[in-house]
Homo-oligomer: 324 residues x 2
């Protein structure tokens, strides 16, 4: 990749994965780290990312302090799924003419509610000559890019069905909140109404597939249902009593002139029991077309989502740098 | 796609599929057809491609006559797997400044023996401003592009294993010759030595995957073994006696510093019997890396290879036209 200087913006689980992955990549050097968390500011990035060695790079804040002080080619941005929070952060990076790879889910394929923000970012990037891209596993790969690529040998595409079943047991407190772990059904449904529960990006995935495959869905409907456990479940971060929420089933369907053409479902569950839950972990996509395409990606990617997200962000760097 | 004028170069099974597929695509019009076969010259392309209607386009030869007479944007080229035969044909099209999509297997990722020819084509395309691309299902999609794309979420890639098992029963006399149907084992092995038996493109596939995934295989070894039947097998074009060849098993392995890093196997078999043959039709790829990626594409694509090849050639047109 030549000699590239990288700033990590957001030193949580994903940013730390990126730092770890970059250690084995020649020609890339982490030269700065940004995080607002007071418990992280001032700490060495190598310690924080669990490298077992110091990197001589201290986490700092505010962002402009790092961006103005350190000469860098790329910012790897991993702070939030929500574009209303990310937009200002990305804009602040672009002001310094630095390229951005973000894993902000809502920027992957901006929905109408985010299109004005996305257009401003695009205009700023064009104006400064810096490049911005949004990548990830989901959205960004498994439920969208894979089925879009796999439609290449199709004469026609009538509809697309995608299923993703993930064991969330290894994840930490943030993800436990997102899936509503150990809530009552009533509390879960309240969280859904408030927008605090569920996976961010499934609507973006459906919208991108619809666009790229010419399905022209004129309506996308999202639902989120709780999965209630009949037995106690234990994970490193939470214990779930019988009758409480141990996962979610999130579904987006899309209609084109009254016909269902898109059907995307993501299930996140804690300590799944195949017999009891009837859930096969892994990823599955079916394109109903001529010919049909039927793809199974077995368990491992779905269970290494954190690694995968860091990897797509790092692996996209050469393409970002080569982009016109 | 706007209003594109297309010439079909080679009106065999693949060219005919392309003509049929193009009928349902708005903004594309077939305006010429080239074939050297005297039984086809002068016939209407619609009749020949089995459209059930005439297109008002007559198959003609020599190529320069069609290329000089008809104004066209793109030639869909489907005459041969071999670049020594295809190179002159493609060059003849480029002389008229017309873009080319070819399914010539050897141009997909030219091996050293073909690199001079490929470079001449590239230089001529650059000189005339016309674009050339080589596409297909295999090579071009299922054993190469799919595993390359699916490595996106990998931190590391150590080795790649791909298996493709195809029932060749629906194919015609040409393919029966390629797979050595109803030969004795001795005749099969003689055909392998003479280069008349086997699938063209597996070496190209392995070379491309090695290149794109940074595996740097310094040696590729190809073997072709017969599959002998213990019972009579019947297909529309051939009857096979017990003890004779009913298929082939073609393998390419690649080594990087003594380690096996690539293992590609294609099996083509007639009237497979899962019990007897132990062969599961379909496509399978495994990336051994961090994380591992394990992909299954079920039977349908492998059994609709002809449709798929036509589709990738037609579906690439917008990208070809948008290329710089």
């Amino acid at each position: 990749m030549g000699d590239l200087r990288i700033i990590v913006y957001g030193v949580g689980a994903m940013g730390s994965n990126m730092v770890r992955m970059l250690q084995s990549i020649k020609g890339c050097r982490v030269v700065g780290a940004i995080d607002w968390d007071e418990k992280k500011i001032g700490r060495d990035l190598g310690d924080l990312a669990g490298l077992g060695k110091r990197l001589g790079v201290k986490v700092a804040y505010p962002p402009a302090e790092v961006l103005g002080r350190v000469k860098a080619d790329i910012v790897l941005h991993a702070t939030t799924a929500f574009l209303d929070q990310a937009a200002g952060q990305i804009s602040g990076v672009l002001e310094h003419g630095i390229n951005v790879v973000t894993i902000c889910q809502e920027l992957f394929f901006p929905l109408p509610k985010n299109s004005a923000r996305a257009k401003r970012i695009d205009a700023q990037a064009v104006g400064t000559g810096a490049r911005v891209t949004s990548v990830g596993i989901n959205p960004g790969f498994i439920m969208d890019i894979v089925p879009i690529l796999c439609s290449t040998p199709c004469w026609e595409v009538g509809s697309v069905l995608v299923r993703r079943n993930v064991d969330f047991s290894p994840y930490g407190p943030d993800e436990m909140r997102h899936i509503g772990a150990n809530l009552t059904e009533r509390e879960f449904r309240k969280g859904v109404r408030q927008g605090t529960i569920g996976h961010i990006g499934l609507l973006e995935t459906a919208a991108m597939v619809s666009h790229c495959l010419g399905l022209e869905a004129d309506e996308l409907r999202q639902t989120k249902e709780p999965i209630l456990t009949v037995k106690t479940r234990q994970t490193p971060y939470v214990s779930i009593a019988p009758g409480r929420v141990c996962g979610f089933k999130q579904n987006v369907v899309g209609f084109s002139r009254g016909e269902k053409t898109l059907d995307f479902q993501m299930v996140g569950i804690l300590s799944p029991d195949r017999q009891v839950d009837g859930i096969e972990l892994g990823d599955y996509a079916r394109i109903n077309g001529v010919p049909n395409v039927d793809i199974v990606i077995r368990e491992e990617i779905s269970q290494k989502g954190g690694l995968g997200t860091a990897a797509v962000a790092v692996n996209i760097i050469p393409r970002l740098m080569a982009a016109p």
